[in-house]
Symmetry: C2
Subunit: 452 residues, 2 copies
């Protein structure tokens, strides 16, 4: 799927930058007011630090809270640094509780206390309830703005009740939650049922029983999978005893899915999904340095392996010319298997139960491909250096390395997962270490045994 080069957002961004360049602040403000918070958030992330600050000051204060929620962690921290406490307080004033809970957890603690103090009693208690759940669980994702009804009343009574609530019915309500007297969850009444059935019917007759409530401690990735599997728009969240606590809406689930995807993609390069494209140079340098350092250690390990064969290398320089090919073929083949395995784990499709089947298949694929490419490389290398011995050696080394790569790529992610290391982050480095070490060792080791 490709993205269009000329998106409407790009044009707006261009216009805004042109306006800024010409100093027409009033015009920029007007343009900003025509945008949704998510669009402004996206635009802020596209801007280098200086321009970002200018735009941030022009944004309507009422939108500040929503925008802070939508930008990545890093950009949020940068924006908050430019606000005084009163501004932060104002920004949190008209947020939903689930959103407020998200934001509060990322504010400097001095401001958090002020925000909590400014809430009325009921709102503070409910916020504390949401905050008691980890951000990575259903409880941390839920909102408390549920509209509940009793099973014994008629739909007509429900309709009159909703008309009394009026604007207090959240605009994204697609269903009501049916509970009994002690707030135990019983089922859902979809608005589509409410409006299309006989108003004399009772809630009990019109409600659906097939919506499983979500336990507050369910991890958000599981919540997302369930929303995807059942095409859910909103779902009830309950405590251990089945009491209704709140609801999760699909817009929050979309954020989880987007972040899951970015985590896998960014993790492979040692970056966080919260990385700011225009982070300050020093902060970026520090964070990247860590990743480079880890990779340098593995590169030195590979060099050390090569160093063991200095004598062999000095006799046959062709080995030095060809050795990167052996390492590279293993690395590429292994990273294909690794990618498949990491996605399988993330989707809940790969586990200890079927990893053996994956391993066998990848071994077969790796072996076949290693034979094909070993022959190709052998022919080219043999012709290049006019040596059958080198041709045979490099073919053997490539075969060995690609078989190791298939095994490592299949098994490593689950092993890392089991010991609590994120395979999306560590998998790629470790795999490359294996394929480098095995590749160099096999190629140079065989050469020193049979060639020199």
């Amino acid at each position: 799927m490709s993205t269009p080069t000329e998106s409407s957002e790009e044009t707006r961004l261009q216009r805004l930058q042109d306006i800024l360049a010409s100093g027409a602040v009033r015009e920029a403000t007007r343009l900003l007011r025509s945008l949704a918070p998510a669009e402004i958030a996206n635009m802020l992330e596209s801007l280098p630090a200086g321009e970002r600050e200018i735009i941030w000051n022009l944004v309507d204060e009422e939108q500040d809270g929503q925008i802070l929620l939508l930008v990545t962690d890093e950009v949020r921290a940068a924006l908050i640094r430019h606000m005084d406490n009163a501004e932060v307080l104002a920004a949190t004033a008209n947020l939903d509780l689930d959103d407020l809970a998200d934001l509060v957890q990322q504010l400097p603690s001095a401001i958090t206390a002020e925000v909590m103090d400014a809430l009325d009693d009921q709102r503070r208690k409910r916020l504390e309830a949401v905050l008691s759940y980890s951000e990575d669980t259903a409880g941390g994702l839920m909102n408390l703005d549920t509209v509940t009804v009793r099973p014994e009343v008629t739909l007509d009574v429900v309709l009159r009740y909703l008309r009394r609530l009026g604007d207090n019915v959240p605009s994204d309500t697609d269903k009501l939650f049916v509970v009994n007297r002690d707030d135990s969850y019983l089922g859902v009444l979809r608005l589509s049922q409410l409006v299309s059935r006989n108003p004399e019917d009772t809630v009990a007759e019109a409600m659906s029983l097939n919506m499983q409530p979500i336990r507050a401690d369910l991890p958000t990735t599981e919540v997302a999978r369930r929303f995807e599997a059942y095409d859910i728009l909103s779902a009830p969240v309950v405590d251990d005893e089945g009491h209704l606590l709140g609801r999760i809406t699909v817009d929050d689930v979309i954020d989880v899915i987007r972040e899951e995807g970015e985590h896998q993609f960014m993790g492979r390069a040692g970056l966080s999904e919260e990385e700011d494209m225009f982070a300050p140079v020093l902060a970026s340098t520090r964070r990247r340095a860590l990743w480079l350092g880890i990779n340098l250690a593995t590169a030195f390990l590979a060099s050390w392996v090569i160093g063991q064969f200095e004598e062999t290398l000095s006799k046959v320089v062709a080995l030095a010319v060809l050795m990167p090919i052996v390492a590279s073929m293993g690395g590429i083949a292994g990273s294909q298997t690794l990618t498949l395995a990491i996605r399988g784990i993330a989707l809940g499709q790969l586990s200890s139960k079927n990893v053996r089947a994956l391993l066998l298949k990848e071994l077969a694929v790796g072996s076949l491909n290693s034979l094909i490419w070993a022959v190709v490389v052998a022919v080219i290398a043999g012709a290049w250096f006019q040596s059958t011995a080198i041709a045979v050696l490099i073919a053997a080394a490539i075969t060995i390395n690609m078989v190791f790569a298939a095994v490592t790529g299949s098994v490593l992610p689950l092993l890392l997962e089991r010991v609590g290391i994120d395979p999306a982050l560590a998998g790629s480095v470790l795999l490359t270490t294996v394929t480098d070490v095995v590749g160099f060792f096999a190629f140079l080791g065989l050469a020193s045994l049979f060639l020199v």
Copy 2:
């Protein structure tokens, strides 16, 4: 974000495999009936070919269509191969039009004709309308099951109309579409408004005007961004003249977002997001061979560069030992920048307008980090080989390579995008080619000038 190792799905998969192993077909069938199509789809993707076929034969025929929609392209093709035409026909019988349109496009053409023939006239015409739009556009994503109302009627009239429609109101309806006499789109009437406002109000009074309709030719990635930005549950799709054609629901958008993420992640390893974890060995081998071949060509290019300096290498073997470090540091640093840029493009945050700012920042970060690590490597390499000259050389080569890596990583993705090549697929290979060639050339070239 980590995924739990013991998910409920995993346990079910285990149970199913145990049941299958013991041959208790009836029990397996009962377990399958308790699962949603998406869960069965997920399970089928987790199974090796043999077991997959057994389970597929046990699945309730009514669910076949839904499941075929939910599995990846490759798994779908494999499942369809095990069905006769009558079964495929039955599977398509109770699908929504948008889903049917998706499926029809992927059926063997002989079956497609049969499926089309089996439809009644109205349904076939509507299907042809949906099929006239590309799968990658809003038109290809839309469904035709909209419920429309006129602006001048009262909410009470709307409620009575909906009760007459009864079960014909789609259960995921969250809003009705307001159109005038010639089907021009005017606005939306949310069910939450319909049920909470005075029934005497007219639709015109209760409807929202702020939902922009989506043009049928808008790319699906843009549709997804708009759903995310405005937290939309369903949106109207219109033609060039503003006539209502259908609606897009958020569940279809979630699929787009999931696929976007997987495309980036899988693309980096030369895999498609539709890749089947348990694809047949020969098919996998053939597809992977292509990617390995491309990478082999770039590896030979790097070898050729090294080959230009055979004489130098034969005099100073330490160069052969250390040269992978230079290439590796450039590759790692470049892939971090590249990852940031590819995500930026996918989110519409990086364009020709701000790529210069990214380039400058990445140059600064790359330069700083190259200085830090050049010193570290120089100290270690100098001590290892007892040579100041080698220390200075490798420091210079690493600095040069990391600066090239920052430039390539920042600029390459947009260049590829502009010439119509997918940066998620080609970016990583090309970047590695640059960092390998520049790394080896700088290190060995400088050595042959100053060392030998």
